[in-house]
């Protein structure tokens, strides 16, 4: 292995190990470098280095660049006595951009502030740019904007600006020293916003709003903000943003944290008024939390490249979150705001978070479109009116919903769930379990609403509101804020990841508050199942059962209710026997309860058992439950209710499978008639009932009737739904099967083949069960026509398909296996046939063990085959007895 190869290997391991949680790294490395202790040591030292400072974090180049500069330029700047016609009195400030002097002017007689820019090279350009802007600066007239009077060039060739002399403190410092509360701070900021708006209307952008440029003076005892340095940023900016970053770095505030992302671009975008809106947001952030959105020390330590990246790409914490994460410091920050930490945090959470975050949007299109709009929103907040800051996002709508319906938390969660799903797109394939679960969710909404109505007293309402807030915090903050479609192309993945991350944070967080956790687990279970992740869904649904045992006690209706979700998930993943077991447990609990609610759940549970037994291939066990469920539906919902008709239809299918075609025909007839009246002839569900009806007719030997009814249906279905619609394919398969039964092999073959063709062209996944049926049917048809060699590949393909589509031992597999084995027998391939049967048996044993009913079934099939074979072979080889 060359050094480069080894390095590549090292890189791979390092990257992989970084992704492994710290606690599992040792284990990972043991596995990955088992044969190479040296390699392991190297990876470990890289991981160690990863946590520590690297030479690439250093600003060594900066220091050397500074030294280069020092070598090239060493002159110092003494304080001038005169700057143009202004007499310099004293130096009042010193920033990275230059020194600030107090100076006097004679006509008019006034004291001014003069800022001298230490630019050296760009003097001419700066002055020219300033001249260009001066016109605009001169017409600005606002009590909160320090006037800019003049600009010029010093004798030593440095540009300077003459401004109104403002005696005041930086806004943040003033606010802290005077222990201004949040509302007073907000009031000050609105004044600044309106001043900035004034400038914007005059066509001037400040470009460098930060606390040190917003001074507060007291006019008649009232704090009044004054914005200084208008136009200077533009005049001095070389037109390339990072250059001005350096300027900023050198100043007292010393942070680029006030700069809008578009100002921190590698290639400067045109900066417009919304850059100022961003900076106002930073100012607001600082006034509210005492910190800038991006920690100054932290981003400075990363070097300029990283600093720029952070400004442009990273999302800052919300103000309320920041307050939570600053530890002891939060107490001090709150005290400076004449408040305590919890009060301040709850004050920030919500509207103020949103207002600030809207200013800090990376994409300026999403910010307030003007400084005035920001001010207006702050005023709205101060007046307790709803703010405009919230984007019309799922999170926002959800949050609004929760606020409006304080108590209806569960319902709120479903709303959130549906909204989230609207974001990610619904999963296709509405299978039985899912629709059952949806019904359960609808029931949950109703239940929650009923509970809410019962909450008459204020105390309960308060608890409820607390729950609502915690829940919305959890979902809006932990889940939705992590969902940023811009970050990844795969939106589905993002939502799921966000949910997974949020789910990871639940542990222990809601100890002692099972009501809160219940709602969260409920939502998570629902969302994961809709996202097609039954594994995750099951975890949360099972936890829900535990929580119900805690809140309502073991054996409570609540426990039975929560089991329903688990059952749905188990059913959806084909774990029928587990689902049946849990449903039986559920029904056992419900036995101990009376009342309409328990009765409703009993009915639902029995219905589930019926469906589960059917799916588990035990139709005989399913029948009593399905009959009971049908009766209940007839009584409760009426004969013609869609759900009753569905029960009729399903039961018909079960009787058909049980070999009771008379009963099947009767029920399918009722279902078909009901659906035709309710849904119309052309509804897929009506066709499904017709297929069951025809199937029963075929079993009763009434093939021609079946053909008579299916032929026009296939034609109208193709016209209405298209030839590739699953139900239309089913119709085709059913008709082909009827043809076969009637001995019309030619028609059957043609129809099966055309069905297979349709399915090859359209989405093969979606049609798989139907494809398998057509292949199997075709094999049977060809066999019936004594074309066994042609039939064999279709039978084989059908079995292969069935094995990949269904769990071992499934009825479809059994049926298809039978067809293939028969074909092999016809072809005289006895060894192959035996091998196929043996293989099947082994699969069942591997999946379920030797004692399972499926295993004994396949064992029986195998042994019967062997017996028959031995008999036949011995019969053949036995010499014909010669009569004496």
């Amino acid at each position: 292995m060359t050094d480069a190869d080894r390095f590549d290997r090292l890189s791979e391991l390092f990257e992989a190990a970084r992704a492994v949680p710290q606690s599992k790294r040792a284990e990972f490395l043991t596995g990955a470098c088992a044969d190479d202790p040296v390699l392991r040591e190297e990876v470990e030292s890289l991981l160690e280095a990863h946590e520590k400072a690297s030479p690439l974090d250093s600003d060594t180049p900066g220091v050397i660049a500074g030294r280069i500069a020092e070598e090239l330029e060493t002159d110092q700047v003494p304080m001038p006595t005169m700057l143009g016609r202004y007499r310099v009195v004293r130096q009042i400030g010193e920033g990275g951009m230059g020194a600030v002097y107090e100076a006097t002017q004679q006509d008019p007689d006034r004291t001014v502030a003069i800022k001298v820019i230490k630019l050296g090279m760009d003097t001419r350009q700066v002055v020219a740019r300033f001249e260009h802007e001066r016109q605009a600066l001169a017409i600005m007239d606002h009590p909160c904007i320090a006037r800019v009077f003049d600009g010029g060039m010093s004798e030593t060739g440095r540009p300077f600006f003459v401004m109104e002399h403002v005696q005041g403190q930086a806004m943040t410092r003033y606010a802290d020293e005077h222990r201004l509360g949040t509302r007073a701070r907000l009031a000050l900021v609105t004044q600044v916003c309106y001043a900035i708006q004034h400038a914007h209307q005059k066509g001037v952008i400040h470009r460098d709003i930060k606390p040190s440029n917003v001074l507060v003076t007291e006019l008649d005892g009232t704090p009044t903000p004054k914005v200084i340095d208008f136009g200077i940023a533009k005049a001095t900016d070389a037109g390339f943003a990072p250059a001005s970053l350096i300027t900023l770095q050198g100043q007292a505030v010393g942070t680029p944290a006030h700069m809008a992302p578009e100002q921190a671009g590698a290639v400067t975008q045109d900066v417009d008024t919304r850059a100022d809106v961003y900076s106002l947001g930073v100012l607001l952030y600082e006034l509210l939390t005492g910190t800038t959105p991006f920690d100054q020390r932290e981003i400075e330590s990363k070097g300029l490249a990283e600093m720029l990246r952070v400004i442009r790409e990273d999302d800052p914490e919300r103000p309320s979150t920041r307050l939570s994460s600053m530890g002891d410091q939060a107490t001090r920050v709150a005290a400076q705001r004449d408040s305590d930490e919890p009060t301040l945090r709850s004050q920030l959470a919500g509207d103020l978070d949103w207002i600030v975050m809207k200013c800090l949007e990376k994409d300026r299109e999403n910010r307030y479109d003007s400084a005035a709009a920001l001010a207006d929103d702050i005023v709205r907040y101060l007046a307790n009116e709803p703010v405009m800051a919230r984007p019309p996002s799922a999170g926002y709508r959800f949050r609004k919903y929760v606020k409006r319906n304080r108590g209806q938390v569960v319902a709120g969660f479903l709303t959130l769930g549906l909204l989230l799903l609207a974001v990610v797109g619904t999963t296709s394939g509405m299978i039985w379990a899912l629709s059952e679960r949806e019904r359960a969710e609808v029931a949950a909404i109703a239940e929650a609403q009923a509970k809410v109505k019962a909450y008459e007293n204020a105390e309960q309402a308060k608890i409820d509101a607390d729950i609502a807030r915690e829940l919305s915090d959890f979902f809006v903050m932990d889940v939705l804020s992590a969902v940023n479609p811009a970050r990844t192309e795969n939106r589905d993945l993002t939502v799921r990841e966000a949910l997974e991350q949020a789910a990871d944070r639940i542990d222990g967080r809601f100890d002692g508050r099972p009501e809160v956790e219940t709602n969260i687990q409920n939502a998570l279970g629902f969302l994961f199942s809709r996202l097609g992740d039954p594994g995750q869904a099951e975890v949360h649904q099972r936890r829900l059962v535990e929580l119900a045992e805690i809140t309502d006690g073991p054996g409570s209706i609540e426990v039975a209710r929560t089991m329903h979700g688990v059952v749905g998930t188990l059913a959806a993943t084909g774990r029928h026997s587990e689902a049946i077991e849990m449903t039986l447990e559920q029904l056992a609990i419900l036995e101990h309860h009376d009342g309409p609610e328990a009765e409703e759940w009993r009915i639902r549970g029995r219905g589930n058992l019926g469906a589960l037994y059917t799916r588990a291939g035990k139709p005989d066990q399913a029948v009593p439950y399905l009959e009971a469920s049908l009766e209940a539906k007839k009584t409760m919902l009426g004969e013609t209710h869609p759900s009753t008709l569905a029960a009729l239809n399903n039961l018909a299918a079960v009787y058909s499978a049980l070999g009771r075609p008379e009963r099947a025909l009767e029920l399918a007839g009722l279902a078909h008639q009901g659906r035709r009246e309710l849904l119309g002839e052309g509804d897929p569900r009506t066709y499904v009932s017709l297929i069951n009806l025809a199937g029963a007719l075929v079993r009763l030997g009434r093939d021609s009737e079946a053909i008579e009814r299916l032929t026009p249906a296939l034609q109208s279905g193709t016209e209405r739904l298209g030839s590739d619609h699953p139900t239309v394919v089913d119709l085709g398969n059913a008709l082909a099967s009827a043809f076969r039964s009637a001995g019309r092999e030619g028609d059957a073959e043609q129809l099966y083949r055309s069905n297979l063709m349709v399915q090859n062209e359209s989405d093969p996944e979606r049609l798989q069960p139907r494809t398998l049926e057509a292949m199997r049917g075709l094999a049977q048809t060809l066999s019936a026509d004594a074309r066994h060699a042609e039939a064999e590949p279709f039978a084989r393909a059908a079995l292969e398909g069935a094995r990949s589509a269904y769990p071992p031992g499934n009825v479809s597999i059994e049926d298809t296996l039978r067809v293939w084995v028969r074909t092999l027998l016809e072809l005289g391939q006895l060894d192959d046939a035996e091998r196929v049967l043996r293989d099947e048996h082994e699969r069942n044993i591997a999946a379920y063990g030797a004692d399972d009913v499926r295993s004994s079934k396949s064992e029986r099939a195998l042994s019967e085959f062997r017996e028959a074979r031995t008999e036949a072979e011995s019969a053949q080889v036995e010499p014909i007895p010669v009569s004496p």
């Binding site: 400075e300 070097g303 490249a305």
Partner: protein, 199 residues
């Protein structure tokens, strides 16, 4: 490194190369860039106190801003320019460190701080020449990783920009950067062990 046509395009677009005039050769263009970077550094010092460090990436930006009218140049050219400038910047810095070492014979190489928050000489210091050599060693092992270091550390590019320039995913750039960072970290670790501090 981008070919000469790029330089020509840039110079032409900025009006520094009049139509019909022979394009300067790459070496000339680079040496102009070299001088420019040094000059800009001097310009900065007039604005900054000596106790404030200069970011070379800022110099690169500045050079770009001066030499090129950004609004006229498509991103790819800007990126290529910055890729060149990053390399030149590295050269400028290493040359300076060499010169400094030569003039201070026996005094050892200049060591400077690991963090901009500290005064020079205050924190842990690294050796620019050694770093340069280490980056060369990295280049021999994995050229792209060395290039990522150059683009990010000297060129001030973001991960996304570097990814676009190198025509790889951002994740790849990130992985390259972290690997390079850690690997270089291990190379410097031993001698600075006692003065190491967290960032």
């Amino acid at each position: 490194m981008p070919d000469q046509t790029r330089i020509t395009q840039i110079l032409t677009a900025t009006g520094q190369l009049k139509p019909g005039e022979d394009p300067p050769d790459l070496e000339t263009a680079l040496s102009e860039l070299y001088d420019e970077l040094r000059a800009i550094a001097a310009g900065y010092l007039r604005r900054e106190r000596a106790d404030h460090t200069l970011q070379p990436t800022a110099l690169v930006h500045e050079a770009y801003g001066r030499l090129v009218d950004q609004t006229q140049i498509p991103w790819s050219d800007a990126a290529h320019f910055r890729a060149i400038a990053a390399r030149v910047m590295r050269q400028v810095l290493v040359d300076s460190a060499r010169k400094h070492t030569a003039t201070k014979r026996g005094a050892g190489r200049l060591r400077v701080t690991l963090s901009g928050l500290e005064q020079p000489g205050d924190g842990r210091q690294i050796d620019m020449i050694e770093l340069d050599e280490a980056i060369e060693a990295l280049k021999a092992l994995h050229e792209r990783k060395a290039r990522v270091v150059e683009l990010l550390f000297f060129g001030g590019m973001t991960h996304a920009e570097a990814a676009q320039l190198l025509d790889v995913s951002r994740k790849t750039v990130e992985a390259d950067w972290y690997m390079a960072r850690a690997w270089l970290g291990t190379r410097f670790e031993d001698e600075n062990d006692d003065r190491r501090r967290s960032i």
